[in-house]
């Protein structure tokens, strides 16, 4: 396969199937489609795959006790959760089933957890139990004095969402899927030969289209259907704590769900020990207008900060670290959830648009559910259109072990293979030049500083790129031939060092 086609194209291209979006939905669909002998394209408006909703969330693989029985959310959450072990194994993505605890501070909250336990039973979530104070201690450690019980969900897990999505995209690409980055869909029209998708990089035509456009999925649907959708971007802010706290938090711990003023409820604040050793704290929930604006907000950051300052004492980690460790905050971020006004996933063929399949409103537990939705949806579509199996499909994505995960012996061997393993570029996360070169030369090449960060974790540590930033810029330039002044943080005109210093006499 030509590795250089991924960024640019012009003119009209015909495909058997087109996927709009490369978040967890689009990536799952693309990978499922690559099981069949098809010419498949993924259109992504960002400069990298996984540059929208799937990039910024709580990283939790939900067990499924929370989603209301009878909804798509509940159904696919539970199936999706069960798929994760095998999926992550196939893709060489770290996944930990660390179990989820939702704790209660009052009898009222215990009652709410009782409701959730019953809901979990109906949803067929394995192993969910309502624990009293003593039982909770045995499972999850010493919670604060005010905690009177908790809901234990052993199948809850954690995954790095962008690691997973990038892995799925890479596996899809290895199986023949073409990815078009920086490709934004402006319009879709139904024509005799199929759907004509107009983008800033030319026209794509296909009889089969999967709408996995995240917060923009309503726009895509509304181009072709009279049954209009509405997606509301719902913002959440998060804080990240230093990897120095690695191992000090075992389970994912939620506060008891809170009722929202407008009806429904939010899962509330959560403490998540990530697979990479950092701890995520989040998040608030605010409906916003801008579908792409992932700026953190003062109110949101403060809400998270305040919650964990006041409630730190409730979490078992407070026994070892009594106060909320402010100095351990290394970064903050915000993510958007693609909330549908129908409050459920919208899945399947659009009634008045044959061959146009929606995967819309994929908000939490979307990360967990998406692989299940995609598997079922693509399977149905394959039957309808009688797809031919792709005998060459390889579900395995093999990647070399990361330097930071190697023992001394493995490191010595790696260095014998490639001396670039001896050049540590990111001190905080122990990322070597070898891994950065692998990212640049991977099947979906990482050519921006953020794309490299997402694939290697370089720059994600406590110094936030203070040491490795300039090193990475020069490695990208050396390897790709892009001048330093044109290297970007995240595509378009996000230039990092746009100018050269002045030559004497030039001012």
């Amino acid at each position: 396969m030509d590795r250089n086609i991924l960024f640019f194209k012009t003119g009209v291209s015909m495909y058997d199937a087109i996927v709009i979006g490369s978040g967890v939905s689009g990536a799952s669909v693309a990978r499922e489609l690559s099981r069949y002998k098809l010419k498949i394209a993924v259109l992504e408006k960002g400069d990298d795959v996984c540059s929208g909703t799937s990039k910024g969330n709580s990283a939790v693989v939900h067990s499924g006790y929370d989603a209301r029985y009878g909804t798509n959310k509940a159904h696919y959450n539970v199936i999706g959760n069960a798929m994760y072990d095998n999926l992550c194994h196939e893709l060489s993505v770290p996944f930990v089933r660390n179990g989820t605890i939702t704790y209660a501070l009052s009898e009222e909250e215990v009652e709410k957890l009782q409701e959730l336990t019953e809901n979990a039973k109906k949803n067929k979530v394995p192993g969910v139990k309502l624990l009293n104070r003593k039982e909770l201690e045995e499972v999850g450690g010493d919670f604060g004095a005010e905690v009177c019980g908790g809901l234990w969900a052993p199948t809850g897990g954690v995954v790095c969402p962008y690691n997973l999505v990038i892995a799925m995209c890479e596996n899809a690409a290895e199986n023949g899927v073409e990815f078009f980055l920086n490709t934004e869909v402006n319009h879709i029209e139904k024509e005799a030969i199929g759907y004509s998708i107009k983008t800033n990089r030319g026209e794509f035509i296909s009889k089969i289209v999967f709408n996995c456009a995240g917060t923009h999925a309503d726009e895509m649907n509304n181009f072709v259907s009279s049954e209009k959708l509405k997606i509301i971007p719902r913002k959440g802010n998060y804080l990240i704590l230093d990897r120095k706290l690695s191992g000090k938090v075992k389970n994912t711990i939620f506060q008891a769900p809170k009722k929202l003023p407008g009806g429904g409820h939010t899962k509330g604040m959560v403490m998540v020990p990530t697979v990479d050793g950092t701890i995520i704290l989040g998040c608030d929930s605010t409906d916003v207008d801008d579908k792409d604006d992932v700026s953190t907000t003062r109110e949101g950051i403060e809400a998270v900060y305040q919650y964990f300052s006041e409630n730190w004492k409730n979490f078992p980690v407070s026994r070892e670290i009594p106060e909320f460790p402010k100095k351990m905050i290394i970064s903050s971020y915000a993510g958007l959830r693609a909330h549908s006004v129908t409050d459920d996933f919208i899945i399947g063929e659009v009634k008045d648009a044959e061959g146009f399949f929606n995967m819309a409103g994929i908000e939490s537990p979307g990360l967990t559910a998406a692989p299940a939705i995609a598997a079922e949806l693509v399977s149905e579509v394959s039957k309808k259109y009688i797809f031919e199996i792709n005998p060459a499909f390889n579900p395995l994505r093999k990647i070399p072990k990361q330097f930071r995960d190697m023992n001394d012996e493995e490191r010595i061997k790696a260095l014998e293979r490639d001396k670039n393993y001896g050049k540590i570029i990111c001190r905080c996360e122990e990322v070597t030049k070898a891994e950065i070169l692998q990212a640049i030369n991977s099947i979906i090449p990482a050519k921006s500083v953020n794309a490299i960060k997402m694939r290697t974790r370089a720059g994600m540590g406590r110094c936030q790129g203070g040491y490795c930033g300039p090193e990475i810029v020069s490695i990208i330039s050396e390897e790709t031939g892009i001048p330093i002044t044109e290297i970007t943080l995240s595509g378009e005109d996000s230039f990092i060092v746009p100018y050269e210093t002045c030559i004497p006499g030039e001012i």
Partner: protein, 423 residues
């Protein structure tokens, strides 16, 4: 893994590492190795092309690069072993070291003594939790300086600076000299944390305004910085959002503090101080692990490189004494801990052993706010052991107080030596 035996292993080849090495060498130790992650010695000095270095140490006004060159010249005259492009992955309590480089791969060392001289890093935007978008064009002063002076690139042409410490001020001037506009410098405190000469020579002389009691409360720009929001702060340093206003710029440069770099010390289980961020040391600059010393900016952040040299020479000498077994091991330790009193933060050393080391101890500390005609004192309970009058004391400048060990007099087991600044 084959372990190479060395006398002293020094982690970091900046000013601290080189000064410590030269001092240990001068005291008769020959088998010394310096590990440096960059391809050159000198550390951050190499990107400091401005002057103001060396006045105390060399009685000369040098640039950072000249200062480094002096040390490097001395180092190459010795047979101290230099391992550049080499990063130390781990050290252990037994003073074993694992390092890695492209050239030599994974290498192991067994040292009689280790000197930690890793320097410091900059506080990032993430730690400050400044709300807003995450575009290109937000970076720390050190990174901007490295791009400018080492790589030859300019990070932006319309720069807003947060933090009026020395690095912020110096970079403000340099941006102007490179043809960029510096819109203003915001300082959250009512005064600058920088040296007085830098406020004049770097900001005032170039007409760059410093907004005191002001901070950045938002970052705007989708792909590249398009501006920042700034706000006044109240007496608790909290932003007064009714005063929030927009400033047009393409770059936000942060100069908001330095943090001693101690990942290796942390991993080795060396006890660190909450206040300085560096290891807890005695007056020989020895950490709580016997034979492991710490000096320079990884011990505590200094104001002038000259003092880094002077301090590191002490660490180098004591490391040599440790190896030569000249530290009075026969005498029972007689330890008193130091304690930050009123007006003081981050006193180093944390422990003084009256039966070991030099007769004279130098206490180093920073004022926690601005003082005029004040007195720095060290006392045990109500008994003043040493004091010094100072016309002015500011957080940006390190204070020192010398005490002779003979002046301590008797003290109880739990007594502490309290250092304070009294107006």
């Amino acid at each position: 893994m084959i372990m190479t035996d060395v006398d002293i292993a020094i982690v970091g080849g900046g000013c601290a590492g080189m000064s410590a090495a030269l001092s240990a060498y001068g005291h008769g130790i020959r088998n010394i190795v310096i590990f440096e992650r960059n391809s050159y010695l000198g550390g951050v000095l190499k990107q400091c092309i401005h002057n103001g270095f060396g006045i105390h140490k060399f009685r000369e006004d040098l640039t950072g690069t000249q200062y480094a060159a002096k040390l490097i010249d001395d180092i190459v005259k010795t047979d101290i072993c230099i391992k550049t492009d080499t990063i130390v992955l781990n050290i252990t309590e037994e003073k074993e070291i694992v390092a890695v480089s492209s050239k030599e791969g994974i290498t192991g060392y067994r040292a009689k003594s280790i000197i930690l001289a890793m320097g410091c890093r900059e506080r990032s935007r993430g730690e400050l939790m400044i709300p807003g978008s995450r575009p290109a064009g937000v970076l720390t002063a050190g990174v901007a300086q490295r791009y400018m002076n080492i790589e030859g690139y300019l990070v932006g042409k319309k720069v807003f600076i947060l933090g009026s410490g020395d690095i912020g001020l110096i970079m403000a001037r340099q941006f102007v000299l490179e043809g960029a506009e510096v819109v203003a410098i915001a300082e959250v405190m009512p005064y600058s944390g920088g040296l007085a000469r830098n406020i004049v020579q770097c900001a005032e002389d170039f007409g760059i305004p410093i907004y005191y009691n002001t901070t950045v409360t938002g970052i705007v720009g989708k792909k590249r910085v398009e501006g920042v929001f700034i706000s006044d702060v109240d007496e608790n340093r909290k932003p007064v959002l009714s005063t929030e206003r927009f400033v047009d710029c393409d770059t936000l440069m942060l100069s908001v503090g330095l943090i001693p770099e101690n990942e290796i010390a942390f991993k080795a289980g060396i006890k660190l101080s909450e206040k300085t961020g560096g290891p807890i040391v005695d007056d020989m600059l020895q950490t709580d692990i016997d034979g492991i010393f710490s000096c320079g900016n990884c011990l505590h952040v200094h104001d002038l490189v000259d003092f880094v040299s002077i301090e590191s020479e002490v660490a180098g000498k004591n490391s040599a004494m440790y190896i030569l077994d000249k530290i009075k091991k026969d005498k029972k330790p007689l330890v008193i801990e130091t304690n930050d009193g009123e007006g003081v933060s981050g006193t180093v050393p944390h422990r003084i052993d009256l039966n070991k080391g030099e007769e004279e101890v130098t206490l180093m500390f920073r004022p926690n706010s601005k003082f005029r005609s004040c007195t720095a004192t060290a006392r045990i309970n109500d008994r003043i052991i040493s004091s010094k009058k100072m016309p002015v004391a500011v957080p940006g400048e390190m204070c020192e107080l010398k005490i002779n060990k003979n002046d301590f007099g008797p003290f109880e087991k739990n007594d502490k030596l309290t250092v304070e600044i009294i107006p």
